[in-house]
Amino acid sequence: MSTYILDTGNHMVGYAVRATRVQVIAAYPITPQTPIVEQLATMTETAKLKAKYICVESEHSALAACVGAAYVGARTFTATSSHGLAYKHEMLHWTSGSRLPVVMAVVNRALGPPWNIWVDHTDSLSQRDTGWIQIYCASNQEIFDSIIQCYRACESQDLSLPAMVCLEGVNLSHTLMPAVLPEQHEVDAFLPPYKPLWKLDPEDPGSAANIFAPEKYMKLRENLQQAMDTAKRGLSNVAREYSHHFGLPHLGGMVERYRCEDAEVVVLALGALASEVKVAVDQLRMQGHKVGLMRVRVFRPFPTDEVRELAKTARSIVVFDRDISAGMEGILFTEVKAALFSSPEKPQVAGFIVGLGGVDVPGFQIAGLVEKCLEEKVQGNVIWVTGV
């Protein structure tokens, strides 16, 4: 019997972590991630979760502790947001370079200054080159599902990669949504205990991460890239197996397509922002426009094939970025264009910067902007939309 609940995105993280039987958690509080650490600390203290919770003194130490624990074969978890993620940056590389399947929830929040505790995707997107899988969730159910899926996919020996499960601050983290929690034995059947390829063991001593010759270093980075390529299939397969195993709807692996079948114009966006795009798509469809949404669920590895596939049918692609790479443009916009570059079909591509630092982006506004693209053939520009 599954349990039907109404709860916040943050609490869904806690329920998922408990269901995975994580063994070591190290985390540091930061708004709007704080309810996650409170819930996990309570679960471990009350023995609802048989894990070690390390109350570390910083974000950098949180991930360093996860790295240490994973190196001796423990399943580990951490959670962060914004400045905390930025502070973890060095250890992000250490984790992926060590090929440790640490899973981390990232509650997306704007980076200061000035201080801002509202949603923005720039925090995690600016960590795109750290060798972590990145999944952007569009609902509280998907947060739960993605955490379970990530452990199964990341701990497989052909991946051995860390993963960020990203959820928008406030919009998901503090918003109640209905969700289904499966039975523990169902999760256990889907996710066996972690068996590391190798661990620090005095019975079989070996060294980790000591200095390596340049050619060998480069080979390791090539291996990391190959694992990321493998992860495209791995994550898609796990998502399909998950929906089959738990009897839940399959929302998509690398991407989620919404009314894309005959769409001439397709909108691309991440996370809950993409949920808002669905409202716009429905509105535009009612007006007779052939518009669809392709939500980029997995940003790393990037769904290059799926974007190229889109180019065969869509005449126009519109990208909404809740992020900015200052000096260039929206980060998703850049990635989408890079994926399309070697495609024989060249649809028009327009990019909007919206919702930075928590600016609201309602569906009707998105619909208006997409409509503008239909009429004016906006091509290649970066258009700032600073409010309704």
């Binding site: 003194e57 360093a64 502790a65 240490g68 991460a209």
Partner: protein, 299 residues
Amino acid sequence: MSIRTLSGEELLLAGTAACPGCGAILALRLALKALGRKTILIIPAGCVSVSQGMAPYTAVKVPVLNIAFAASAAAASGIVEGLDVTGVFGVTVAVWAGDGGTADIGIQALSGAAERQTDFIYFCCDNESYMNTGIQRSSSTPFGAWTTTTPTGKREPKKDMPFIMAAHKIPYIATACSSYPVDFVEKTEMAKGLRGTKYVQVLAPCPSGWRFPAEKTIEIGRLAVETGIWPLFTIKNRKFSLSLTSERLLEGSKRRPVREYFEAQGRFHHLSDADIDDIQHSVSTIWDHLGQINNEDLF
């Protein structure tokens, strides 16, 4: 214990990439004799992260996790909890960090792990500068010492890490020196037998950075102790005790003049007679204080 009864098992093999006369690699060799095979070492950036050898080879016969500079004590926390939760018991977890990795960039993680009473030994192998990067000042560099970033001599005193660690109310703190192998091994064994965070700061003379001939490493370490510059002591369960070698130096006349220590090292060659007199005076003051707290509870 005597030098003859130290473990004959070498867990640090010959052929490291350390400089000739390296006090740090000697200290590591001695520490491993006390720690034994059932040990996991965590090594942040520093001399030993290079001198252990280039992968796939290593001179260290226990498992080693090399880790980012600021991360060693936190990684140790993860290892300690990870071993416990996966049912592996009886393994000593030890960090082997330099003075920069301890007193500067690693102090936050160390302080956090100590406050959490993490069950591990933290060794600060103190060669009083960033030697691996080529002799730059650390907060553990003593007053007056030349480094490449203090070309006219450091103007500030050495950070007092053992007492900073004592303020964390951890069960065991010790100072040691690579020139006193028995004392260092005994202190490491003591640390190994206690639960909680143990901090051992071992002074490791560095011929390359301190500017003295490689064959003088033991002698320089002995001078550091015999002049009273580097007192050997323990703080066990908050009780401060000078070690036997240093306790006999409580009487000022037993201490050799600090001038002998300074004149033997190129890094202090620019010091004036007045500077040395000032340092001699401050050493006497410190020893007056050590005499007052010897065999007393600090808190």
